[in-house]
């Protein structure tokens, strides 16, 4: 039987790892390389480049909204958990927010691995029944007349929010703009501001 509730998970993982390595089913170097890729190379800085390009290149934005997977691949971001992407655009009248109520579906190539709260019960339960309350918890206050659309990701389809470009950034180039795009702004639990950063 799989792990009982009181199990020492760290010990269990080490035991399974050592057995799989011993049997030649897992190569330690391959495992280390994969983990390093997701810790250091793939993350929200990728998605921020997509957003900044859309803010500065209307033709790219049009492609992004009509075939997100192909447009995102133009910037070199594709692969596992990003095979079928949809980009939803925030506007002065609509705010979009993404959840995966069933588990943790998330666009890995553009955002990296999801934060714990995205995978945890409270967000998954409440995003679809009380999105404005959830947004308040993230410090996002929207005018009551603004429509909130919540998108439930699934194993086949992953969403990325295209935030509104902040006012006062007209003179900025794509690289400077990308630094304003946070992970949460691309999930829809945040917004981009002229001073926001990619840390969260």
């Amino acid at each position: 039987m799989p792990a009982p509730h009181t199990d020492d998970i760290a010990l269990r993982v080490r035991a399974i790892e050592s057995l799989l390595v011993e049997k030649g089913l897992v190569q330690p170097a391959a495992l280390a390389a994969i983990v390093e890729t997701y810790e250091t190379k793939i993350g929200p800085h990728n998605g921020a480049q997509v957003v900044a390009r859309a803010w500065t290149d209307p033709a790219f934005k049009a492609r992004l909204l009509s075939d997100a997977t192909a447009a995102i691949a133009e910037l070199g971001f594709s692969g596992v958990q990003g095979e079928d992407m949809v980009v939803v655009e925030n506007t002065p009248t609509v705010h979009n927010m993404v959840v995966c109520t069933l588990c943790s579906c998330y666009p890995w190539p553009t955002l990296g691995l999801p934060p714990n709260w995205y995978k945890s019960a409270p967000y998954r339960a409440r995003a679809v029944i009380d999105p404005r309350g959830v947004l308040t918890e993230f410090g996002v206050e929207l005018p009551p007349e603004k429509e909130v659309r919540v998108w439930d990701s699934n194993a086949e389809l992953r969403y990325l929010v295209l935030p509104e470009r902040p006012a006062g950034t007209e003179g900025m180039d794509a690289a400077a703009l990308a630094a304003l795009v946070s992970r949460d702004a691309m999930i829809g639990t945040g917004v981009a501001t002229s001073s926001s950063g990619a840390a969260r």
Binding site: A3, I9, V13, V26, K119
Partner: protein, 103 residues
Amino acid sequence: MNGVHDLGGMHGMGPINPEPNEPVFHAPWERTAFGLFITTFAGGHFNVDEFRHAIEKMDAAHYLESSYYAHWMHAVEDLLVQRGALTSAEIDGRMAQLAKEAA
């Protein structure tokens, strides 16, 4: 499947508590768990639907009280044992051996 994983719309799950500047992994074992999933998945031991199903049929109470990568390890172990790549006895034996070495 109408299981405990189908959380959308449930009440009583508490606050979200986002963690500022959250690391990608919170413990070394999570890093290993992620790597074991990717390598065994890429090795063709199971597909993504089988993986999700293995998580979705977890004991409901265990599902709610265990962490995300614990779900992943549960599924990886469940599927590898099912497919004969590992046995539960081997895992128990190796755990006992490692615990003894660490003592």
